[in-house]
Amino acid sequence: MSYSVLNTKKIIDVVKYRWLWLTISFLLLIPGVIAMIYSVIQYPTHSPLRVGIDFTGGSIIQYSVSENVSSENVSDIRAKLVEHNVENPVIQVLKPSTSDSENSIKYILSIKTKFAEENQSEEIEKITEIIHTDYPDAQVVQTNSVGPVLGQQLFINSMIAVTLALLGIIIYLTIRFHFEFALAAILALCHDLLFVLGVFSILGLVAGVQIDSLFVTAVLTVLGFSVHDTIVVFDRIRENNKFYAKKATYDDIVNASVNQTLARSINTSLTTLITLGALYFFGGVTTKDFVLVMILGIAIGTYSSIFFASTLVAWWNDVVMAKKAGNN
């Protein structure tokens, strides 16, 4: 058994069942893509996700209240706000945590409305007065107002940042590996990105979840992690290929590399998911969506690094080989 390194326990055959893995990827992505297309048609902003005030402009004012606000009360408040000419108010009740300590905030009443260009300050004070008539103990815990100009700028800047980050990664991987690795890594990355965006598009439709600038941060982190994961597998393929290129087929090398890094891939994702899980369940209410993006992204990133990116590399190699054979 001098051939041992390549004959390590094969738990998953990524190359042989490539159509199965690609089908699973397809099934994972398709609901989100449909939701995004539907959103583009449906939303007045024509965006694939429900965009928050960070990008569109608007105001969110959050009050801490000591008692729960029932859905009837919510419609009550809404009616009152509309009566006082508050434009299109969106009201939400958030429960920050399960902890019962004295000082922690019990419930948060969140009110979203348009950014009033001229008299923004009076607008907020007017809303506060209206809330105080029903909830005298309500206290403003957070206000967030963004003018529409600034929102659009932020959105454009975010898009530029994402594009440049992708370009940077492609260039780096092309230098360090080969172009086909860079291409596969970027496709895997788009795979992960599409999944996360898809889930949030669905959440936007179903639960009204909006994306903000923290969301963009989280997505960029997912990109970083996705590439991180993919590189580890690629690094192993690169290494094995150096030693076994003459002794084994490329498919075997890819398979062996994936299986050798399998334990690491799963363990790393697990530990990261543990920390993120702690953040999700015990962390502040403001970062919940942010953490959810990363949980989804890291889970799918692990999947894509094992089943998607390496499959693509093997496939590319097969196609190139077939071409070469054809030319000869």
């Binding site: 001098s2 041992s4 390194v5 959050q62 801490s64 920050p96 905030i105 923004q120 300050s121 004070e125 403003v140 815990v141 957070q142 206000t143 967030n144 107002s145 963004v146 003018g147 100009v149 600034l150 932020l154 800047n157 975010s158 440049l164 940077g168 990664i169 780096y172 991987l173 360090r176 600038s213 923290l214 963009v216 941060t217 960029l220 982190t221 970083g224 992690f225 991180h228 590189i231 580890v232 690094d235 192993r236 690169r238 290494e239 150096k242 030693f243 363990n267 790393t268 990261t272 543990i274 920390t275 993120l276 702690a278 953040l279 369940f281 015990f282 962390g283 502040g284 970062t287 990363m294």
Partner: protein, 433 residues
């Protein structure tokens, strides 16, 4: 072996320094964690001001600073962020009502002279040329009746103008306008030479005080509009901070337990390395003056994940090398060297992303990118230096006698290893033949 022991002490000293730094330097918390407000203002062009110049921005900044921070004692910062924009940060105060008022007031004081008909009745008012610019100081005072008044002291030029005005219109009323609104129209009894005047109206003390602050700060050189404002109450900030601590702590404990369970003795070493890593990273945050925000903490926690990943990569690799029958010393070295290319490449791609985010992202994103980048750099050091050093000191050389220490079984270990040795210097740069 001697080098290893020296390195061990270097690590210990670094850790102690970190603990000292963490203990003695204050943590800079962002507004979302300690509460406070952030306002972005943009200077507006008007018909009279077609272009906003840098001089105007400087004057605007100075005026706003005098208005919201009249005593100059609070930690309010105002900085210019773009050609026409100012960023104002006010710690711990989340009630923007007062601040908004101070920012939006024009604070234009003007003395107007009457246009009289032939009988001496006032037809209308016109500008006298005496304005807030001629003011030296305003103060709150009381008049003989005990009412609150605003006392004005003019500068030399203003005093001259005021003397002229009172001389010309002795026996007639003059008007004092503030922000386009007439405050009072006293009748001039005699020429006033000393450059002192007073405005009486129905002032409350607060109102008089607020107006005095505005007058002393001066009029805005250019009107400004609020583009964005964020306020977080200290209660919510503390709540978020405490929860982040709890979440971070729970996450860390679980990760450490996982590592211990899965990798045994190396897992324990990784756990210790992780604690050292956290201490050094936190100390670096403090030394470099990183302001911790919620996003920043998320970046830090993520970097912990990457630090653990480096250890996992190394251990998995070391285990493989041991399975192939290598001796402990070479297996550990090979594990590190082989894993290094993965760690290096993946961390480099993270750092590239961080750099781009730092320069293009919004404030929130910047904080995140900075903590993540620092964390990743420190993690390379901790994984390579700390873990490796401890592994060598703990296991020494020779054959692995107790595979269970690594979570391996006796039967996992093979006899021979057929791959030729990689030169270590080459391995570091990904060249493996």
């Amino acid at each position: 072996m001697k080098n290893k022991i020296i390195m061990f002490w270097v690590i210990i000293v670094l850790t102690l320094i970190s603990i000292f730094v963490i203990h003695s330097m204050p943590t800079r918390l962002g507004l979302d964690l300690k509460g406070g407000s952030r306002i972005v203002l943009e200077a507006q062009t008007t018909e009279t001001i077609p272009k906003v110049t840098q001089d105007m921005m400087d004057a605007l900044k100075a005026t706003l600073d005098r208005r919201i921070n009249p005593q100059g004692i609070s930690e309010i910062t105002i900085q210019q962020i773009e050609d026409k924009r100012l960023l104002i940060e006010i710690p711990t105060d989340s009630d923007l009502k007062e601040v908004r008022r101070k920012l939006s007031e024009i604070a234009e004081l003007e003395f107007k002279k009457p246009i009289l008909d032939e009988n001496g009745n006032v037809l209308s008012w016109e500008s006298s040329g005496l304005t807030g610019k001629d003011l030296e100081k305003a103060a709150v005072d009381t008049d003989e009746a005990g009412k609150w008044v605003i006392k004005l002291s003019f500068n030399a030029q203003g005093a001259k103008k005021f003397a002229q005005l009172t001389k010309e219109f002795r026996g007639y009323p003059i008007a004092i306008y503030f922000n386009g609104e007439m405050l009072s129209e006293p009748v001039v009894k005699q020429e006033i030479i000393g450059g002192q005047a007073q405005i009486s109206g129905d002032y409350t003390h607060e109102r008089a005080k607020a107006d005095v602050d505005l007058l002393n700060a001066g009029a805005l050189p250019v009107p400004a509009k609020i583009l964005e404002e964020n306020a977080v109450s200290p209660t919510l900030g503390v709540d978020s901070l405490n929860k982040s601590y709890v979440a971070g702590f729970i996450g860390l404990v679980f990760v450490m337990l996982f590592m211990l369970f899965w990798y045994r003795v190396p897992g324990l070493i990784a756990d210790i390395a992780l604690i050292i890593y956290s201490l050094i990273t936190f100390a670096v945050f403090k030394i470099t003056g990183v302001t911790l925000t919620l996003a920043g903490i998320a970046g830090f926690i993520l970097s912990i994940g990457m630090a653990v990943d480096a250890n996992i990569l190394i251990f998995e690799r070391t285990k493989e090398e041991l399975k192939s029958g290598r001796t402990l010393f070479t297996a550990i070295n090979a594990g590190f060297d082989r894993a290094f290319t993965s760690i290096f490449d993946s961390n480099m791609s993270t750092i590239i992303t961080c750099i781009i985010l730092y320069f293009l992202g919004s404030n929130i994103v910047k904080g995140f990118a900075l903590t993540l980048a620092i964390g990743v750099v420190v993690s390379m050091f901790s994984a390579i230096t700390v873990t490796k050093n401890f592994m060598h000191l703990m296991f020494g050389t020779g054959q692995l006698k107790h595979p269970a220490l690594f979570g391996l079984k006796e039967s996992d270990i093979n006899e021979a290893y057929e791959v030729s040795e990689t030169q270590r210097e080459k391995a570091k740069f990904g060249v493996l033949d």
